[in-house]
Amino acid sequence: MMGSVEDPARWQRGPDPWGHWHRGPFWLRNRGNGGPLRRDPSERLAGGVAAGVAAWKGINVTTVRIVFVLIALISGGFCVPFYVVGWLLIPAAGEDTSIGSRARSDAAGIALAAGLASLLAFVLFVGGVFNDGWIASWAWPQTVTVAGLALIWRNASPDEQATLRRLVEPLGAAGPSRPGRPGRRSVIRLTIAGLLVLGGASWLARGRESMALLRPLGGVVLVIAGIVLLLGPWWLRIARDLVLERQAKVRAEERADISARVHDSVLQTLALIQRRADDPQKVVWLARMQERELRSWLFEGRAPGEPESETTFAGGVRQIQQDVEARYGVPVEAVMVGDCELNENLNALLAAAREATVNAAKWSGASVISLFAEVEPDSVSLVVRDRGQGFDPSAVPKDRKGLAESVHGRMARRGGTADVVSADGEGTKVTLKMPRPATATAAASAPGGRPPEGRP
């Protein structure tokens, strides 16, 4: 109980860990505070009982601690429960009620404490049958300790629970490790336990001449079976209640996570939308940004703002859609049929498509741009289309780089084609087509390939 626990609060008052402002002999720290006995959480190592007593009687806290440890050792562990009971019954400084009075209304906690105590008592009883009783005499009072700690665990304030957790941590490491993660340590433990049981059983079986010795053992087994039958269901129920409680906690945490996410993104966007209600284009843009963010979080498990590097063609098209929508505020409807891995040719195709889409967003004045991508066994095609004002391709000066270099040039260098159809007032349609090398065709023609991507 008195292990060394790092408590930052202890060090905040000065570099002298032995207490402070002491006048006279070191074991007298101060005059007693004269008030009622209170535990002192700010000075605690475990429950702050020693610190409370020290403050109450005006003794140096370290002296009290040494006395406590000595009493515990001399009494053979018999006095440890008193410490726990003190922890339970003495209210912490600044609090009106003790943990014990709070625990009285915690039915599940009382059941848990009683269950743990009876479990320990049962183990000790079984152990006592085989042992000379030394361990038992030391350990019996700890049934009270365990029950008391269980109650404290459930009813203490959060920072006291944290202290308790730190105290119990070394024990927890030796005990069963977390479910679903059988660490190397637990494997070793299980192996040793299995070897012990096997060895004991074979030793018992070999010693046939000592059958007489087995008779009391049989009796013990019967008693154990009886106790397990009597108390087993109860222990099981307690264990199940604990599991349920933990699940409820996990659910609550998930809920908190979701509501935090909804607050961060959706509610913020809704607030923005209300403020921008007079600007329909902005409202549409905000709504689409939010929709896309929410969808990628819900269906693709991608947190907003998470950097993404696309490795597939459909992912690349989606990226164009997102970027153009975000930068130019023009909705882009993307429909994708099939998918395949990206390669240099397809990167060039995507770059050309991005240029065409950006052009449409900047110049066409269309309210929406359509992106249609199709991966076929022998080629990949991508159509960028708008219903905007259009232009006359033949009237574009040859030195205008955008279309010539970014779209036509990119495609031609990789063996692809670009076809631009546009007329004044009739919108523009850019059709890009890139052949696929024969080796890559197998993947694309696999049945049931990726479902189409896009947005409604």
């Binding site: 969808r295 269906f299 409807e333 429909v335 994708m336 049929v337 099939g338 929406v368 359509s370 249609f372 199709e374 076929e376 066994p377 159509v383 289309r385 219903r387 349609k429 694309a444 023609s445 696999a446 049945p447 049931g448 390939g449 990726r450 479902p451 189409p452 896009g454 947005r455 409604p456």
Partner: protein
């Protein structure tokens, strides 16, 4: 059918229902609203609308449950699926149950009214998303043995013309624009789309049956 189509709205979001009702205004006659599978079935059976605007997801099941319950009772009622769903399997399942089309909830009022009229007249309505789904489902050549022997192999693949039409729909073309682009009449476009719908509903292709089966299991 005389005058404006009579429409029932089935969607579990009251806000969305009232929004659609307000948007549709006089274009159609909204004769009822329902928010779940069973109320929808009861309502449709009693008011017998021309068109049911049906949400793909309902608290008590999928939109296809409504279609399957109504079909034997009043086969003349037509369904238009409506969803914010991104999942093709949800949409395909409703289409295979018998819906005559699918539009997304972000559709403009004008397009929605047009789609309702079209469905009421017995035509199929493919949004650009649905066209993408269908192309994808029919695109991959099925692995040998994965397709059940079909009573009509024609059903298992699209003609190149149908594919062409679907591609243009996926690019956001209207039927009129498609007709002009392909030098065919709007009626022909409609018949191509109806034919695709029929194949979608009857084909035994691997992907389609798998999608449908998965939905029935859940």
């Amino acid at each position: 059918m005389s005058g404006v189509p009579r429409v029932v709205l089935v969607d579990d979001h009251g806000l969305f229902r009232s929004g659609v009702r307000a948007e549709l205004g006089r274009q159609v006659e909204v004769v009822g609203e329902a928010d779940d599978v069973q109320p929808a079935i009861d309502l449709i059976a009693s008011v017998r609308p021309d068109v049911v605007l049906l949400d793909v997801h309902l608290p008590g099941g999928g939109g296809q449950d409504v279609i399957e319950a109504i079909k034997p009772v009043c086969p003349e009622v037509r369904f238009l699926a409506l969803s914010a769903s991104d999942a093709p399997e949800d949409v395909i399942a409703v289409i295979r149950a018998g819906a005559r089309g699918y539009v997304t909830k972000t559709i403009s009022t004008l397009e929605l009214t047009d789609a309702i009229r079209r469905v009421a007249a017995g035509d199929a309505v493919f949004s650009h998303r649905l066209a993408g789904f269908v192309l994808d489902a029919f695109a991959a050549s099925p692995a040998p043995g994965s397709v059940k022997p079909s009573f009509d192999p024609e059903l298992d693949q699209l003609t190149s013309r149908e594919r062409e039409v679907l591609r243009l729909i996926a690019q956001g073309y209207t039927y009129k624009e498609i007709a002009r682009e392909l030098y065919i009449s709007v009626k022909t476009v409609e018949s191509h789309v109806s034919s695709v719908l029929r194949k979608l509903q009857l084909s035994s292709r691997h992907q389609l049956t798998r999608w449908a089966a998965e939905r029935r299991l859940t």
